[in-house]
Symmetry: C2
Subunit: 358 residues, 2 copies
DNA sequence: TCATCAATTGTTATCGATACCATATTGTCG
DNA sequence: CGACAATATGGTATCGATAACAATTGATGA
């Protein structure tokens, strides 16, 4: 049957005509399909000469392996699933990049999803991912719906939670304490003489890392005897640069004598600083500002922003590494916690010796 | 066979024990597997009561549909593949987000890959994607290896090229002319009285959109009789904020009387402006700077950056929309070109009336 | 020289869902 | 009231690769 025999609207597009299968490649070469299958794997026993002939045929015919058939048979999907809150946030896209890089040459492919900081969306996505039977799954944070937890348990695959230290880990963890990191920043700045601390973050508890940073701030300010922190909540996470600007205005209206403002992320810190600059205030002379996450912008902008550097890329790489390890060692791995580093990066925006060159 | 019967190292993890299949759910409910399969699809004919019983059983047993089996049988993978140069660039992650959103509730899932601006990497990824038999594929740009083109043709699936207007489109296109967009920016600024134009971009031709912007700049500057543009190439794409800063220093060393510098993206423009500020130059009083892409940062920073706004999100949405359309209408769609909008956004960084409030 | 073994290749069953067709059941209309 | 349609459900083959096992070949060594 050629294209001429079928009605026009059912005609295949050029090239679509023959859906090649392994069996056809095999026939073309004069071997069995099994041998062709073997030729595609590096560990299989096929003579070099046969493999070469097969690969030439594959090339000539334009055959492309069909992994969905293969994975059904081998019961290995070749997928790793990863869920991040947002892909438009460079911290998380760095993590995604780390995962991708770690998966290179492992024969595993990344299935990426965005939860929009919502546990319900996460639940949906987990189900959607599990329908593809991933061999492992990487999540952001430790806050999941009950059904999500049940599905994950039932799936029987290694799970890595990242970016936090969940109280009740599912399996493996690769992350750090957001609360302690923020605490360290508070202590460092207090050590420089700052006393009147403000904080800018999002409103809801959807962003668990944000909440942890906030409580780390709150707790530490009180521990240092600096009274209750001056907290402004602004916008649904992730809070934007613009919201950072609006938030610092509210904060300074309410507590005009604030000396330093810590922000849930560098993005809001940047927005805050720009807004201050626009209103004629000098950072850090009139008000000091610090962020969290060490985004590229913070080392470039003027003034440069004091922040907490987080190893976003490393979180991804290590999370994928833990999964790979678990897959190799026969899934019998214990539930480990891998701590990733963070450090305070002091820059111009909190420099006590006044303003930078302007 | 219980867990006790198997050697310890082969024991399944808790919960993994029974890999549930549809047949088991069916037996549990007392219907056929086929009926269970139907219950999972909204268009299939199953009585409401049966569907309800089945879904209760699914819930009770914790069954999760296996799409890899389903797609083999139905010959529909449920995947859409998309390749972007980088996920760490917010322009492209916006496009990815647009695709994801457009795919919501279509039963299609996004398989995302990063080409790192490399046609070779793209070729590899195209093959990796095709092995999953996606129902459509979205590419960035129109520059592909010959083998990539062959594979795509053979795959017989709709292809959408985005972010450019390729000279030789494979199938559908959703994008705009980077060259004309840059040209428009040059003309607009020339209309404001600028005469001595500089340009900052990456070195190689890997980033085809970058090259197109550059040639649009070059051509237009000459057409306007403003002599050859002052071009600086700096770094392998994507060029960073920091490289933007280094580039403008080189450019001003070489051509100190330059009046306005156009940058391949807002990121390098931002870096350039910050570096100028640090060196005591005021933007735009001493030097005007414009970017491309209208990143969030450009409307927030100080001075705000003149740029070309591109509908990144819309490119993704429309590209996915074109694919969906092609899939519905039986793949017989013609090869269309969908133009997406762009516009000049004039801001402080090129304001001829001197510096903004500082 | 013959048994043994490693390397290579083939055969068959199977992974788990769905397409396709058949069948049972209920309802409808002249 | 009988024939036919519409709805609901079941049975079987099948998607395309791979696991598991079998078979063939040539080489090796006692």
């Amino acid at each position: 049957m050629t294209n001429e025999d079928v009605p026009k609207d059912k005609r295949l597009k050029p090239g679509e005509a023959q859906k090649l299968t392994m069996a056809e490649v095999a026939k073309y070469v004069g071997v069995s399909a099994m041998t062709v299958s073997r030729a595609f794997r590096q560990d299989a026993s096929v003579s070099e000469e046969t493999r070469k002939r097969i690969m030439e045929a594959v090339d000539a015919l334009g055959y492309v392996l069909d992994l969905s058939a293969g994975s059904l048979s081998s019961r290995r999907s070749g997928f790793i699933a990863a869920l991040v809150p947002s892909i438009n946030n460079s911290n998380f896209s760095d993590t995604a990049r780390g995962i991708t890089d770690a998966l290179e040459n492992t024969g595993l492919q990344l299935l990426l999803g965005y939860t929009d900081y919502s546990a319900e969306k996460e639940e949906e996505l987990i189900e959607a991912m599990l329908r593809r039977r991933p061999e492992g799954i990487i999540l952001t944070g430790g806050s999941h719906t009950a059904r999500a937890r049940r599905m994950l348990a039932k799936a029987g695959i290694p799970v890595v939670e990242t970016w936090e230290l969940p109280e009740d880990p599912i399996n493996q963890v690769v992350g750090f304490s957001n609360s302690e990191a923020m605490s360290l920043l508070v202590r460092t700045l207090a050590g420089q003489g700052y006393r009147k601390f403000g904080y800018i973050g999002g409103t809801t508890a959807r962003d668990t890392r944000g909440s942890q940073r906030r409580s780390g701030f709150q707790k530490t300010v009180e521990e240092l005897g600096l009274g209750p922190g001056r907290m402004i909540s602004f916008g649904v996470p992730p809070i934007t640069m613009e919201q950072g600007g609006q938030a610092i205005v509210s904060l300074l209206e309410r507590w005009p004598d604030t000396e330093v403002v810590l922000c849930v992320s560098d993005l809001s810190a940047f927005g805050a600083i720009m807004e201050c600059t626009r209103r004629g205030m000098k950072v850090p002379r009139d008000i000091a500002v610090a962020g969290f996450g060490d985004y590229e912008i913070s080392s470039i902008c003027h003034p440069r922003i004091t922040t907490i550097n987080v190893d976003c890329y490393g979180i991804g790489r290590q999370a994928a590494g833990r999964l790979l390890h678990a897959l190799q060692s026969g899934e019998a791995t214990g539930d480990e916690i891998t701590l990733t580093g963070y450090r305070v990066v002091l820059r111009e925006s909190t420099d006590r010796n006044g303003t930078p060159t302007a």
